[in-house]
Amino acid sequence: MDTILEAPNREASRDREGPGETSHSLAISVENLTKLYGDVTAVDNLSFDLPTGRLFGFLGPNGAGKSTTIGCLTGLIDPNSGTINLLGEQFTSDSTELKRRIGVMPEGLALFDHLYAHEFLAFNARMYGLDEQTVRGRVEELLTVLGLNSAHHKRLAQFSTGMRKKVAFAAAIIHRPEILFLDEPFESIDPAGVAMLKDWLRRFVAGGRTVFMTTHVLETVERLCDDVAIIKAGHIAWRGDVGRLANGGTLECNGQQFTTLEALFLHLVGERYEHLEWL
C-alpha cells in the first residue's frame, strides 16, 4: 500500500510531472459554478480554490449541493455555467486526460454489481492504463489489506454496504490519483476500516496529493481535515482551517466563536429541535 499512497504517480504522469513536483499550486479552482435542475438551483455561483496537498472537508446539510458539486468536479454532471480547473487545467466532462489524474468514489458508489471484486478492480485499473502486472499486484494487495480477500469469490451485489464502500475506495485509489474525490467515504465502514482509511488519507496528502471529501461525520472532519467549507443552499456559508481546534483554538463565524465544528455547523444551518407529541 505504501507504493500506491506515497510513491510518485508514474502511470498517471508518464508524460508530465509527478504530484510532488507539479508546477501548479492549486489542485482545484472553481469559479462561479452554477447547476440548475429545472427551476431548482442546486449550486449557485460557487467559487473556491484549494491548494495541493490539503485534505479538504466539504460539509453541508442534505440537499445543500455537495454531491452536485462533486459531480461537477468529477465530470459526472455538466454545470450550467462557471469554470473548473483541476491541477492547473480546465476541466469538463470530456477531459479524459485530466480524469486519469483524479480518483473518484461517487455517491451511490457506481459499482458493477454482477462482477466479482477482483474483476471490478482490475477493470478500473485497466481503464486507467495500468499494465497487466501492476493490475494484478495492486488488485491482490488491495483485496488483502481491505480484508476482502475471503470475499473475492462473491459478486459485489452480495457484499455488505461497508464492503462495497471499501471496494469503491480501492477503485478510486488503484491508479494513484493526484486528487481524490470521496463522497461520504466512512459511513457504514467498520471502525478498524475507518481508522485504516484515515491513515491512508493522511499519508496520501503527506505525499503531496489532495483529498476533497464530503461527509456528515463532523468529528472525523475535525480530526482529519486541514480545511473545511460548509455549503448551504448552493453557497459556501463558511470556510476555514479546523486544525486550530486540536490546539484548543476556536472557529470564528459572524463575530461568534465556536469550540467545535458541530456547534458552528448547527449555527449555520439552523438548530432544529422540533418535538413530535405522538412519539
Binding site: L76, T96, G108, L111, H118, M127, K154
Partner: protein
Amino acid sequence: MFRYFRLFRHPLSLHLSVITFKCGSTNQLSQRNFITLESFWKNLLRPDFLWHFWTLVRLRYRLIWAHARTGNGRIALFFVLYLLGGLLALFISFGGFGLAYGMVGNGQGESVARWVLASLFINGIGLSLLFGLGSREAFSEDSLRRYPLNSQERFIVRHAIGLLDPIWLILVAGAFGLAIGFARAGYGSILIGFPAVFLFIIANYLMTAVILSIVGIMMQTRTGSALLGTAVILLVSFGPLAIASLITTRRLEVWQAFDHLLQLTPPGAAAAIIVSDGAARVLGGAFLLFLWSLILVYALIKLEGRPRASQTAASGSIIWNDFYDQFGNLLGGKYGPLVSKSLRYHLRCNFIRFSLITSPIIVLMGKVLFPGQGPESFLLISLAIFFMLSSATGAALMFNLFGYDSAGIRRYGILPIPFADALRAGSLASLFLRAIAVFVAFALWLIFYTTRALNWQMVIMILSVAFGSLFLFNALGLWTSVFSPKRLDFDAMLNNRLSFGANVVVIVGILIPFWGTMVLAHRIGQSVLLRFWWIACLILIFCIGFYALLQWVIERLLKSRRERLINLVAGASDK
C-alpha cells in the same frame, strides 16, 4: 457438517421443512417453508390483511399509472393499449360465446369446451412467458418485506396481485364468454360456470407460476440453462414432427387419447363443470380443479422456498486472463476492458443467456410462421426468418446497452474515456454475442430445416441478410439505448424488458419481413431471387456502413442526453 431434518406435523399442515446447518461456519442455509393451508386461510380472512392487500393492489395500479405518465405520448399509449386489451377481451368473449352456442347443436359441447379452454390455458402460459405475470417487478418478495406482512401474507399478496394482471382478465373474458354461451344454449348454469372459470384461471396462473419458477431455478446455473436451452431446441425442432407423425398415422386413436388425457387437466375439469348435466360431474370437476390448485400451490411454495443458487465463483483463488480478458485483449486497451466487462455482465444474466440460447430455434419455425407456402417460397421464408432472428435475439441487451448497469452507469462518467466509448463497447459485445447466435441458427437451419439442394448463392444471401440485419439492428440499438433507455432488474426472468422505443423497433423488425414474405411469396420465385443474389451483399454493405455511421454520430447525440440517461438508469433514488 450435519443436517437436521424437522417434520412439522399437523392435520392441515402440508409442509416439510428442511433446515441445513453448516457446522463451524456462518454460512447457514435455511429453508423457510412455513406456509400451511391452515395459516393460508387464517391470514386470508384477517381484516387487517385484507386492508393491506387492498392498499397494495391500489399501489400496484398507481405504479402502473405513474410509469405510464413518465414520458411524452405514454399516457396516450397507456389508454390505447388498455382499449385494445378491452376490445380483445370483448372479441374473445364473443368468440367463446358464439363457439359454445354453435357447438351445442352438434352435440360436441363438452369436447369443444375442453379444447377451447385448453387453448386458453396454453395461451395463458405462453403469453406469461413472453410478457410476465406482472407481479414480481412491482412487488418482489424483498420489496414486500418492508410492509407488516408475514411470509404467508406476502405469498398471497404477490400471487393475488399477479392474478389481477390484465393478461388474466383477457383469458377470464374468453372463458366467461364460453360459460355464458353454454348457459344461453341450455347447458349448465352461469351460477356454476362463473366460479368454475375463476378456479380455472387460478389453476392456469398457478401452473404458469410453477413453470416460471422451474425455469428461473434452472437458469441460475450454467448447466441448468444449457439443459433448458437444449430441451427447448429439441422440443421445437422434433416436437411438431413427432405430433404430426402421430396424427397422420393414428389420427383417431391419438385424438381420443389426447381428449381422455385432457379430461384430467384443469381445462377438462372446468369444461365438465361449465357443460354439466348432473351434480356428480360438477362435483367431480370441482374436486379435480381444487386438487390441481392445491398441488400447484404446494409446488409453488416448495419451489419458491428453495434457497437461491449462490452466485459464487467456482475457484477459491482469483483466475486471471480468463476467456473474457483474452477476448478483450484482442480489442486493445481502449475497448478491451469495456467489452470484457459487457460480455461478463451479459453472459451472467439469466434472461440474456436464455434469450441467446433459445432464439436460434426461430429458424426451424418457418413452416409454422408462414403456413401454406410452397417449396418455391423456401428461400424467401428463410431470408425473412433470419432477418427476424437478428431483430429479436438478445433484444434486451442490444436495445438497452446500459439497462443492467444500474448505478454502475455512473462509473463510465468518471472513467478517463468518452462516455460514448462505453456505448460503443457494449454494442461490440452485443454484436459478438448475437453473431454467435446467428452462426448457431445457420447450423440448425442447415441440419434441420433445409430440405432442398443448396447452392452458394443461397448461402451468401442467407448470411448477408442475417449479418446485414445484425448490423442494422445493432445500429438502431445504439439509438434506442440513448433515446429510449430502461432500468432493468438483472435477476428477473419475467416481464417485457424492452423500452417503448425498443418495442417499436422489434415489432417493426418482425412485422416487415413477415408481411413482406406473405405478400411476395407468390409473386417472386426462388429462381428470380437467386438471380439477384448480389443485392443481399449490397444490403450487408449498406448495413455495415449505417452501423459505422451511427457509431460515429452517437457521440454528439449522447452529449445532450448523458446526464438524463445516467439518472434514468442509475435510478432517481440513487442519484
